[in-house]
Structure formats: structure tokens, C-alpha cells
Amino acid sequence: MLLEVERVSKSYPGLPVLHDVSLTAADGEIVCILGPSGCGKSTLLRIIAGLETADAGRVLFDGQDMATVPPHRRRFGLMFQDYALFPHKDVLGNVAFGLRMAGLPGAEIRRRVQEALTLVGLSGYERRRVTELSGGEQQRVALARSLAPRPRLLMLDEPLGALDRALREQLMNDLRGILKQVGVMALYVTHDQEEAFALGDRIVILRARPELGEGGRVEQVGAPQKVYRRPASSYVARFLGLHNLIEGQVIGPWSGGELALASAPARSGEDLAAPMPRADAFDPVLVQTSLGVLIAADLTRPHAAGERVIVLIRPEAAARCPAAAMPNVVQGRVKEVSFRGSYHLVRTEHAGGIVLTSEATVAPDQIWQIGETVCLRLNPAAITLLEVAESNWRSSEFDICGHSGYDEGRLRRSHKPCQTIHA
């Protein structure tokens, strides 16, 4: 079985929602649709469910065009963000609803309800009123209700969005377990990259550009690890919480002559001479940036000299080192330090006002003091080059020092005074 969404577009009067969106999902696969609010993710689910009609494009399931199939005959499941549990029915009544609509006999309904409730860990809750349940329990009832009729495709619209953080962590894990156990094909919509990473077999990143009058379109598709490691654009990088993005120009291939210098042992004693394992064997290049000359070793394609690129320095790239004048060693002043348990989140300001956010391993002999001048060595294997998207420069400002971490503001332009690179 296969779900194929082909070039779907949708707009409401004066509001473009989806622009030429295509995606596929295979049997048993969990596909996460990731994007900020307003990028049309929920509308996409509603179109697939048949609750809305697309202006253009097709939805095919198992090769059959769904256009003529009304929503109640599609045998899909949709879990709403607010769960939409029927307030006048108890847990049993909610979970049994789809089974009753399918015309199953009473005994079978009871058995299947039992099965679904056990699956979500709520057996014994049959007679409880749904309005008396906690948020997490409601979420589980909604899941059981969607799963009980054994839908051919289960769609989940931000199912964890309404829950608090601790509960989300737990349910995130449970959810993947349950979905995999049932083996249902699932489309999972979220704006939270952590959820997408934890749940998805594949991630589809949507991006809307309302300022250009454009609804959501697919920005990148791929396995979670791949998307994180190789964001297709600076937009994706920033959306995933990667904010160290600097404009640069390729100088040429790196001869390897300065390797000894570049990877001199760090103060903490770790040996970076053996860089992170590389998936692709493209030769590292030297890039001229405002930070100085950097070696980028994590490349997706060969780069020619003179090419303009965006340099992405991953937060795990930096480690403290003694001052030295060589590629990949940069000097800066510590602006902010916050302790995050297994690492320090450090923001350092460098030449030209560039701010880098780093996740520095917590080591007993390393104390970060605000205002202190430090030297950082950036691991070439944690530096990758992104394409310069035309629109980034056209939209006139390119925020390279937005908030780091997972706060809500990450998608907006930073209000802190920060460096912007103009085209």
C-alpha cells in the first residue's frame, strides 16, 4: 500500500496555504511533516482525509484516486490536535464509534475496544467520562479511537502539542512504540523538530513564504539523521536549531598541509586529528569567512574555488584551545554561558560581530567566564557548506545569530542586536 500526494495546491481567498506539495508514504512507515505554524501542514492532512478539497493535484491511495471517495469511506484515521473526543460519550463510546460505523457485531466491538485500550495502556477506563480524563489520558483515548478501526492510514495532527513537556517526552517514546507495533502507515504533523526526529522514519519539511504570497512547499525530504546533518538550506538549518551560519567564499581545496596545525591537540586532551567519520568522501575545502579561513570537511558535493556558500558550523564543533594563528582557530569573547546538564551552551562573539553558539562538553577544568577572551578550535568535520538560496539574500537580511536552543522565538527574526549580512 502506498500513499501518493501529487502536486497538491490549496489557497483560501487571499491566503495561499499549500504550493505544489508532493509526498509519499509506504506501508508501515511514519512520515513526519515538520514546519512552523501556518505552513499548511494541518490543511494537508485535511485534504488527504477528504475534509477539504485541493485546488489542484491528486491524492492517491493504493493507486486509487481519492477524489471521488467521501471522507467516511476512506478508512483513514485522523487524530486531531484537540483530540475532538465526543464529550457526551464515555471512553468506550468514543473508542467503539468507528467500529460501530463499520457495522461490526457487538462482541467483536468489545474485543477490539479492549485491544485498543490495552495497546495505549488504558484498559479498565471504559466507563470513564472523557471530560474527566487528564490531557495525557485524553490523548491516549484519541489514539485508541483512531487505531481501533484499523485505518489504512493514520494521520496525527500535532498530537502532543497540548501536553506539557515532561508528558510529551514520555508519550513521544510510547507513541513510536505503539505505531510500530501496529505497523500502521502514519503521517505525523508537528512543528517540533525533536518530535519529528524521535518519531519519524522520514521527515518532510514544509516552508511557507507568506511575504512572497506563497503557501507551504516542500523544502527537504529525508531521514531524520540526514536532514539534521545535511540541511538543504539555511532555512532548514535554522528551523532545526542550527544558528551558526556565516557567509563565505570557497578558496580552494585544502591541501592538507596545515592539518597538523589545525588539529593540534586541544587543551582538554581530546584528539581531533582523527575527524568525525565522513559519509561522503569529498575533499575538504578552505573557505574565506569573516571569522577567518575555515576548513570545511563535511561536504555533500565538490566545491569550486570562488563559489559563494553559507558555512554551517554545528554547535558541537567548538572546543577550547590555546591561541594560535591557523585555520579553524578563532578568538572570541564569551557573551553568555548556560549550564544544560551534559553540556554548556556558550555564546561567543567574534570579529565582525559574529556570534557563535556552541555546545561545549562539561569538563571539570573548563570554566567559562563571561567577558573572558577564549580561543575555539572548530572541528572541520562539523562544518558543512550550504547552498546560497537566492531568496535569502533577496529578503534583505540574514539572521545569523538568532536564539539558539529550542525556544519559540527560533523561527522569528532575532530581536537582539545582531549581525546581519546584506547581499
Binding site: P71, H72, R73, G77, L78, F86, M101
Partner: protein
């Protein structure tokens, strides 16, 4: 989607047509009658009326009694609102529900109840006379302004408790906590934080009470006697007793104008009362009284309120029982003691009332459901335009409406004088806004996701409606039906003007019995009032049991 929208606006045409014929047409005739009695436009009647002493007296009396009643009601209602909003005590829900009973009681019942308690032959006087061997009744409130004010306060205290108390209960306690921490004394905080936040709600409640007292009719007619006449009573007197239709029309016009002004001010105040505050659930903000003064205050307020509301009703029920033979007055209701063949036993009024109420309930439910559905679905201009129109009948006074019916349906093209259908139609009109207001929140509260979820789970559209929408709004429908029924059972003003003599309703029969001398008539009036009270109280308990939101959200 588009088709559904067109269909729903088409369905709305039925209620609109009904409103046009049975509301706007009579009112337009009233207006025409006062402007152009002789077929040409003439402002003279409207100007000369100001020279009439009776008119100025009625207008002045209407305004000042409504003001005094509102002040008294607020004085009684605000402490109770505070107690209900901020304290938790055993039996609170029940007490809160009981305080709403007067809201559904007909004016005739309330008037009879106060006569049974404070009238010359009332309980209190009989008790005092027996105790002190007095030859005459010591309390002479009957036919004074005091009895009117007390009855109005009895009626409307629950409005203040519900509106202000409800708003107060949802005020975040943290606001006053914050002010206290910032150094404000208890009283400073009350005057600088709580009162300004409550003021819109108090003003809205005050205006609503003022509007109710402004259009008060039955209470004044029975308890006030001939020397007190509000505009409403004056319209009735001019139209029915003196048969001066043109004067009645001019009075009605003035009355209409004033009530619509009050309505407009009220709805503005009410919008302001709906400031987007950080709303807390009522349970969260109420705490049990801990200190002794606190406990005493709660106890006295709640006890006093219950006593004030319960004693008149109990005296009514007790007084309706004759001494040697308790049920005598009840039996008399069904007997024809007069030798006249035109005599209608008062008991027949019970049958009439039940019949009319059933018809009015059915009709207002159909019209109200259509209207509420259209309103719930329509967004934007249509809704903004329709909503006030639906509410208009609330603002029109009952007597004006009845007078309009006399003008409109007493002659061709719609000569319905001989037909009793006018009464249920008038009742439908009075109940209609209540029905719409009860159904609308339920319909708006229907989460569209519910039926979508049902659809995705395999329910065809009609099945989703039957399984999801209908059961959920079912309770609201029931509440609306009971509301319409009680409103119709108790309607007095319009009915008095349009009911055929041979088809009296219960309130009309009570009025007739009370206006006739003799202990037997008096006893029968109390018996009939008790029956009506029981019907309305039963309706009220059904409403309380099944209502979804707050009643009194108007």
C-alpha cells in the same frame, strides 16, 4: 459549503416572516396610529401628550420606581453576589439554584405571594392581630410603593447575584493578591482593583433590572392599586378601560422608544462586561470562610436571602389552604357557583394555559432552532445584522405588544379577534429570544472537529449529525423548551389585552379573581397562584438539571 450557507439563510426566512407578521406589523401599526391617526402625518398627538398630567405622572413614576427598585435590588444582591463568588460553603450549588426561582415565576404569582404575606389578610397581619388582639391590620403596605419595591427586589435579586456573582467568581484572585502584596489594604484593593473590574458587570446587571422594573406591569397593577400607574399600566388603562386607542398608541411609542434606548445602553454595557480577563474557573476562586466574622457574614447573607425568597412563596402555599377543609379553594376552581351560563370556571384557565404553552413551546422551538442554526453558522455581516433583530422582542413591552395585536388583528386583512390563536402566537414571540439565546451557545459550542472525527471514523453526514450534534444540543433543546413553556404559562401583560374572555389563561384568571371582592375569590386566586408556582418551579428544576451554560445570559 456554499450550498449549506444558502440553505441555512433560506431556513431563516421562516422565523423572519413570523417576526414580520407578529412583531413588526403590530408595532408599525402602533407607530402609525400615534403619528397618523387620521391617515395623514401628524405629530400633534405626540406633542400634546406632554401636556397631559396623567402622562407626566406615569412617566415620572415609571422612572423613579424603576430607579428605586434597582437601587434596592443592588443593595440586596451585591453582598449575596460577593458571598457566592468568593466563599465555598455546604449546599452552595443548591442555594444558588434556589435563588434563581423567582426569575421564572409569573408576576401574578409573585404579587399573590406578597399579598399572602404582607397584605391586609396576609400572614403577618393575621399573626400580629392574633398576638396583640389588634382590631385592624397593623401592616398597611398594600397599595403603597413599598410593596412594589419589595416585589421588584424579590424578582430581580437573582439577576444581580447571577450576573455580578458569576463575573466576580471568574475574576482571578491573583489580581487582588498581587495588589495586597504591593501594599494595598483590603479596602483600598477592593476600591482600586475589584470594583473597577466589576463595574461593567454591575452596570449591566443594574440596567437589566432597571429595564425589567421599567416595563413592570402585573406587580404594579395588583400591588399598587389605582393610584400607581407606570407607562405600561397607563397603556392598558387607556386602551382597555377608557378605549382611547390613539392615546394608548402614543404612550406605547414613548414606552418603546425608552425601552429600546435602555436595551441599547444595556447591550453596550454587556459587551464591556465581557472584557478579556484571565478567566479562572469559579471553583478555583472560592474559599471556605475561616474567621468567625466571615462565617457569620456568609451565614447571615445566605440565610437572609433564602428567607427573603422563600417566605413569600411559602405563605402563598399555606394561605391557599383553607382552614377546616384544606383543599376547598382548589375544588372551587372547578365549580360553577354562578347561575350564569356565560360563567367560565377558573379551572378551565389551567387547561387553556397548558394548551397555549404547549403550542407556544412547539412553535418557538421550531422558529428558535432555525434562527439559532442560521446565527451559529453565519459569520460576519449577516450575523451582526440578524442578532439584534432576534433580540428585539425582548425589548418590546408585553402590553405594547398586546395593544399592537389589538390594532393589527382586530380587522382585515388579519381578523383573528374571534380566534384564540393570537395568545400562543404572542407567547411564542415572547419566548422566542429566550429559545434562541439558550440554543445559540450550545450550537456555537459544537466543536466542528467532533463531526469531522465522526466522519473520518466512517459516519455518513446524517449519521454524524444524529450521533454527535443532536445528543449534544439535545440538552439545550430541552432547556429551551422548558423555558418557553414557563414563559408562556406566566405571560400576563400581552395576554390580558388579547385573550378572549372565554379563553382566560391562569395569570389572567388570577388577576380576575384578585380584582373581585370576597374571601372565596381571594382564596381561589391563591390556590391558582400556587398551582402556577408549582408548574413554574418544576420547569425551573428541569432547567437547572439540564442547562449547559448560565441562564440569564442576555
Amino acid at each position: 459549503m456554499k450550498q449549506r450557507a444558502t440553505l441555512s439563510s433560506l431556513l431563516f426566512l421562516f422565523p423572519l416572516a413570523f417576526l414580520a407578521v407578529f412583531f413588526f406589523y403590530p408595532l408599525v401599526l402602533v407607530i402609525l396610529r400615534s403619528f397618523a391617526a387620521e391617515g395623514r402625518f401628524d405629530l400633534t398627538p405626540l406633542l400634546t401628550i406632554w401636556a397631559e398630567t396623567y402622562f407626566r405622572r406615569a412617566l415620572w413614576f415609571t422612572v423613579w420606581q424603576a430607579t428605586a427598585s434597582t437601587a434596592l435590588t443592588l443593595a440586596l444582591g451585591l453582598p449575596a453576589a460577593f458571598v457566592f463568588a468568593r466563599y465555598r460553603f455546604p449546599g452552595k450549588r443548591l442555594v444558588q439554584a434556589l435563588t434563581t426561582i423567582p426569575f421564572v415565576l409569573p408576576a401574578m404569582v409573585v404579587s399573590a405571594a406578597f399579598m399572602a404575606l404582607l397584605g391586609p389578610r396576609g400572614w403577618l397581619n393575621e399573626l400580629l392581630m392574633a398576638l396583640f388582639g389588634l382590631p385592624r391590620s397593623p401592616i398597611r403596605l398594600q397599595q403603597t410603593i413599598w410593596l412594589i419595591l419589595i416585589a421588584h427586589a424579590f424578582y430581580n435579586t437573582s439577576v444581580v447575584v447571577r450576573l455580578v456573582g458569576g463575573f466576580w467568581a471568574h475574576l482571578d484572585r491573583k489580581l487582588t493578591d498581587a495588589a495586597r502584596v504591593l501594599g494595598g489594604s483590603r479596602w483600598r484593593v477592593f476600591f482600586e482593583i475589584t470594583l473597577p473590574l466589576l463595574l461593567p458587570a454591575i452596570i449591566a446587571a443594574g440596567l437589566l433590572v432597571f429595564l425589567f422594573c421599567f416595563t413592570s406591569f402585573g406587580v404594579i397593577l395588583i400591588l399598587g392599586g389605582p393610584q400607581f400607574a407606570t407607562l405600561e399600566v397607563e397603556i392598558y388603562r387607556q386602551a382597555v378601560t377608557l378605549f382611547r386607542l390613539s392615546d394608548a398608541a402614543v404612550l406605547s411609542l414613548v414606552q418603546m422608544g425608552l425601552t429600546f434606548v435602555i436595551m441599547a445602553v444595556y447591550s453596550r454595557a454587556q459587551t464591556r462586561a465581557a472584557v478579556p480577563l484571565n478567566v479562572r474557573s469559579a471553583e478555583e476562586t472560592a474559599l471556605p470562610a475561616i474567621t468567625w466574622p466571615g462565617k457569620a457574614f456568609v451565614g447571615l447573607t445566605v440565610g437572609g436571602l433564602l428567607l427573603f425568597l422563600a417566605v413569600p412563596l411559602f405563605s402563598l402555599a399555606l394561605k391557599s389552604l383553607a382552614l377546616p377543609d384544606p383543599l376547598r379553594f382548589y375544588r372551587e376552581l372547578f365549580m360553577n357557583r354562578s347561575s350564569s351560563i356565560f360563567y367560565i370556571p377558573p379551572g378551565l384557565a389551567i387547561r387553556n394555559s397548558l394548551l397555549f404553552a404547549t403550542l407556544a413551546t412547539g412553535l418557538s422551538l421550531v422558529l428558535g432552532t432555525l434562527t439559532a442554526t442560521a446565527l451559529a453558522r453565519s459569520r460576519g455581516a449577516l450575523g451582526r445584522w440578524l442578532d439584534p433583530i432576534v433580540l428585539l422582542p425582548l425589548g418590546a413591552s408585553a402590553v405594547t405588544l398586546g395593544f399592537g395585536y389589538i390594532l393589527a388583528f382586530g380587522r382585515p386583512p388579519l381578523d383573528l379577534r374571534a380566534s384564540p390563536v393570537l395568545v400562543p402566537f404572542a407567547h411564542t414571540l415572547v419566548a422566542f429570544p429566550f429559545v434562541v439565546r439558550t440554543l445559540l451557545p450550545a450550537l456555537r459550542g459544537l466543536n466542528p472537529r467532533w463531526s469531522e472525527a465522526a466522519t473520518i471514523l466512517g459516519a455518513a453526514p446524517w449519521r454524524a449529525w444524529r450521533e454527535i450534534d443532536l445528543p449534544i444540543i439535545g440538552r439545550a433543546l430541552l432547556v429551551a423548551a422548558v423555558f418557553a413553556f414557563t414563559v408562556s404559562m406566566g405571560e400576563f401583560g400581552a395576554t390580558l389585552l388579547i385573550a378572549r374572555p372565554e379563553f382566560p389563561t391562569m395569570p389572567v384568571a388570577i388577576f380576575r379573581l384578585l380584582s373581585q371582592p370576597g374571601a372565596l375569590n381571594y382564596g381561589q386566586a391563591l390556590a391558582m397562584s400556587t398551582l402556577l408556582m408549582l408548574v413554574c418551579a418544576a420547569g425551573f428544576f428541569l432547567i437547572e438539571r439540564f442547562r449547559v451554560g448560565e441562564i440569564g445570559e442576555f
